[in-house]
């Protein structure tokens, strides 16, 4: 049993509770802008809901999962007492306070700016300060991860850092650095305007700073799922991790190339030069590598499990896999969604192909498939895996768990495939109302309806997930034993210092930030003629 159960459970319960609420909003949004509903008459309600859904799903939910999982890893992988338990609680309560502070103005319609802020739109200052508190809370976690690793390294000089912790700390460093862009945008640009110290804002610069955060934040969301691929999946299905080294290299690659690629979100923005857009495009192509390495390594690890269970032949081992095991099911679904979503992502990052889907529903379909699909289904998996160790009770009904995962997978496919399709048909995103009676839009009516039905399948699955966890907290007691991670095929006796520390890779990450973002940001800062009047939302 884990010692800091209360801390970890607090993170997970809060994460999944807000996830449940935001999921309800998501389903409502899909419904009201589909042909199934007449129209809510006031688009403000729609944008209010989108802002709440995005802020919770983008900032609060994955951050809490990463933090809770991070504490669990620290304790179980390092096998030492968590240093800074009080600070961990401070971080947690900062996130609670920040989330409430941000959500109250959103609920009141004072901050319907969507979670990506969209300057020159300006909402209530409380919204932005709430988001900053959430980030500050998570930075405490970053510091704690680093400190705990440092304490362990001092006690175990030269020993290989356990893979789970190595990846976890890499993820925390990635988050610390990538959050800087949005933090600069909020503190130097948006909050002064929201507080009334300034009435104009450099929207172009703000967008570039946000792009610094906007893409790498996705990899921060993704890292807990990847950690689960490497350290939970092979153990849970009775296999071995094919390569510990490949895992380390994957996380290192994420650390280096996640960040200097964000300008691929601003291909249509005139304030960034085409040369920099191309560089960011090229580095975005490189970021496919750690995912391809991971898919290869995990498939190999799963094959080991299949063959250990008596599977034979080129593909015959797949039949021998433990498909009744929820983790096996989750990883299979996750990979399918990662495959489709990743292929879509390559289209997004290609300069020319992007032009045909830029700002369409394709994009919303894409990130729901990757994050909501491939990543969140692994959050479910890791929660199921950890739950008995956190509650001291066994999860009662595996069939229900499998049903939940199936529903999530089917729901996500039914939701996002038509969503991509209407994007190709040219349906713009971020709009509250579509006139499906117009001949130009009528072909989109059916796919949008199908997509909205998918949203309700997802809602059912999400609520079922919460029900299973709640039931798991009241089931009969069962000692789950110590929490263990997967064993590599070849035992790790020593690891080169470069793959056991972060110095080189952090230096490369910062250097690439300077080369890829330095000039675009400096040029915009230096120009004096780029500010526009702020547009205050809900100012009435």
């Amino acid at each position: 049993m884990l010692a800091n159960r209360k801390l970890i459970l607090a993170h997970f319960w809060l994460a999944f509770a807000v996830f449940g609420l935001a999921l309800c909003l998501g389903a409502w949004q899909m419904f009201v802008r589909s042909p199934l509903y007449v129209w809510i008459s006031d688009p403000e309600w729609y944008y209010r809901s989108v802002t709440a859904h995005g802020t919770v799903m983008g900032y609060v939910f994955p951050t809490l999962v990463a933090m809770g999982f991070g504490y669990a890893i620290t304790e179980s992988a390092l096998e030492q007492r968590l240093v800074g338990l009080r600070w961990a609680w401070v971080g947690f309560w900062l996130i609670v306070a920040g989330a409430i502070m941000a959500m109250v103005p959103v609920a009141l319609g004072r901050a319907s700016v969507l979670y990506t802020f969209y300057p020159p739109l300006i909402g209530s200052a409380f919204y932005y300060i709430g988001v900053v508190l959430v980030v500050v809370g998570s930075w405490i976690w970053v510091a704690l991860m680093s400190i705990n690793l440092h304490v362990w390294k001092r006690a175990h000089p030269g020993d290989p850092v356990p893979l789970a912790m190595f990846a976890n700390v890499a993820g925390s460093y990635l988050w610390a650095w990538t959050a800087v862009g949005a933090a600069l945008e909020l503190l130097l640009q948006i909050i002064p305007v929201a507080l009334g110290f300034k009435a104009t804002i450099d929207a172009g610069l703000a967008r570039v700073l946000f792009s610094w955060t906007l893409h790498a934040i996705v990899y921060f969301w993704l890292i807990p799922a990847y950690i689960a691929f490497y350290v939970i999946v092979p153990r849970a299905i009775g296999g071995r991790l094919y390569s510990d080294t490949m895992a380390r290299i994957s996380f290192i690659l994420f650390l280096i190339v996640s960040m200097p690629i964000g300008i691929h979100h601003t291909y249509a923005d005139p304030q960034v030069g085409a040369g920099f857009k191309f560089i960011h495009s090229a580095f975005t192509a490189v970021v496919t590598l750690p995912t391809l390495f991971t898919v290869f390594t995990i498939c190999a690890s799963v094959e080991i499990a299949g063959r250990l269970r008596g599977g034979k032949g080129l593909l015959g081992w797949t039949a021998a896999l433990p498909w009744e095991n929820p983790i096996m099911l989750a990883v299979a679904f996750s990979f399918i969604m990662l495959g489709f979503g990743g292929a879509g992502g390559i289209i997004n990052m290609s300069y020319q192909l992007n032009a045909s889907i830029h700002n369409t529903q394709w994009i919303t379909g894409h990130f729901h498939l990757i994050f909501g699909g491939a990543v969140v289904i692994m959050y479910f998996a890791l929660a199921y895996d950890l739950w008995p160790h956190l509650t001291g009770r066994s999860l009662p009904d595996l069939r229900l768990v499998r049903t939940q995962l199936w529903l999530w997978f089917i729901g996500m496919m039914v939701t996002t495939f038509p969503w991509h399709w209407v994007g190709i048909l040219g349906m713009p995103r971020r709009m509250a109302y579509y006139d499906y009676t117009d001949p130009a839009l009528s072909p989109q009516a059916l796919p949008v309806t199908v997509s909205a039905i998918g949203a309700f399948i997802l809602l059912t699955s999400g609520l079922l997930f919460l029900f299973i966890l709640a039931r798991g907290s009241t089931a009969s007691r069962a000692e789950a034993g110590p929490y263990r991670f997967s064993r590599p095929l070849h035992p790790v006796r020593s690891v080169p210092l470069a793959l056991n520390s972060y110095g080189i890779w952090l230096a490369l990450m910062i250097a690439l930030t300077v080369t890829n973002y330095g000039y675009p940001i400096a040029a915009l800062v230096a120009r004096q003629d780029t500010s526009v009047p702020a547009i205050y939302v809900g100012a009435q």
Binding site: A199, F278, D435, D438, L499, G503, P533
Partner: protein, 271 residues
């Protein structure tokens, strides 16, 4: 291995990591800043440096290019949501005196008996901007332009403050309230028309947009037609021109009639 040995080219992880990263960066930069700019036949560069600057987002100004001259006078008014937000009592009082000359068309209480706009309780930024535009000839009207020509900055601010201060009264010829036409509720997204209320107050008020309830039907229709024909051009981003051009004559009639039939008291306050 000490940290110094870690950051050494003798450490293969360091040399490969730095080498590959630098190679990808240089190759991408070579393509992004040199090869691709030259690959576009329409772009002409003076030299290599010009191409690089252009790709970096800093095109060199060629001496022959001149900015296109606008065919009409542009509005130069800068408005923010806080413009004239808290006028002094003196300002409102001066405005009341100055407003006597406006009363002949706009009514002694700011409610017009002619087909001129009702000004009582109009948003302060709206009157301020329109008077400035009339004075600078960004907006012209045979009757209004001579009045505006002689106003000082202070006069304009005072008049705006006074009219914004007046209570919103029922229009002079209140009509039966009409049902909301489709174009007012939904706009027409396919044609780029937002619902009127998204700017004009019912849903949200965008700075500089007037509320329209109870205004003269003739006046509203005339303004929409003036925007559509390009005769009125003081909407700085062409937002009204784009909308009016996309509206059908029937939609213009419906929207004007609808707003004229609404009581001004329902307008939301901005403060």
């Amino acid at each position: 291995m000490s940290p110094r040995q870690l950051f050494s080219f003798r450490n293969q992880y360091f040399s490969v990591g730095v080498g590959v990263t630098a190679a990808v960066l240089l190759l991408a930069a070579l393509f992004g800043f040199v090869v691709l700019p030259y690959a576009q036949p329409k772009l002409k560069f003076a030299d290599l440096w010009d191409a690089i600057c252009s790709a970096a987002g800093r095109p060199q100004q060629s001496p022959s290019s001149t900015a296109a001259k606008p065919t009409h006078r542009l509005s130069e008014v800068v408005l923010t949501p806080t413009t004239l937000a808290h006028p002094s009592q003196e300002s409102i009082g001066r405005g009341a005196t100055l407003a006597q000359r406006c009363a002949i068309c706009h009514g002694p209480t700011g409610i017009s008996r002619a087909e001129s706009p009702n000004l009582a309780g109009q948003y302060v930024g709206v009157i301020y901007k329109q008077l400035l535009d009339f004075r600078s000839l960004a907006r012209t009207n045979a009757v209004m332009s001579p009045f505006a020509a002689v106003l000082s900055d202070q006069d304009i601010a005072d008049l705006a403050a006074y009219y914004a201060y007046l209570p919103r009264l029922p229009a002079y010829h209140p009509e039966r309230q009409l049902a909301k036409p489709r174009v007012v509720i939904y706009g027409a997204p396919i044609r780029g028309i937002a619902p009127c209320g998204a700017c004009h107050g019912a849903l949200d008020n965008k700075t500089g947009s007037p509320w329209l309830e109870g205004q003269s039907e003739v006046y509203l229709k005339e303004q929409l037609q003036a925007f559509a024909s390009g005769q009125r051009t003081n909407d700085i981003n062409q937002q009204m021109r784009n909308i009016a051009r996309a509206m059908t004559p029937q939609e213009i009639d419906e929207a004007a009639a609808y707003y004229a039939s609404q009581p001004a008291e329902i307008v939301k306050s901005t403060d």
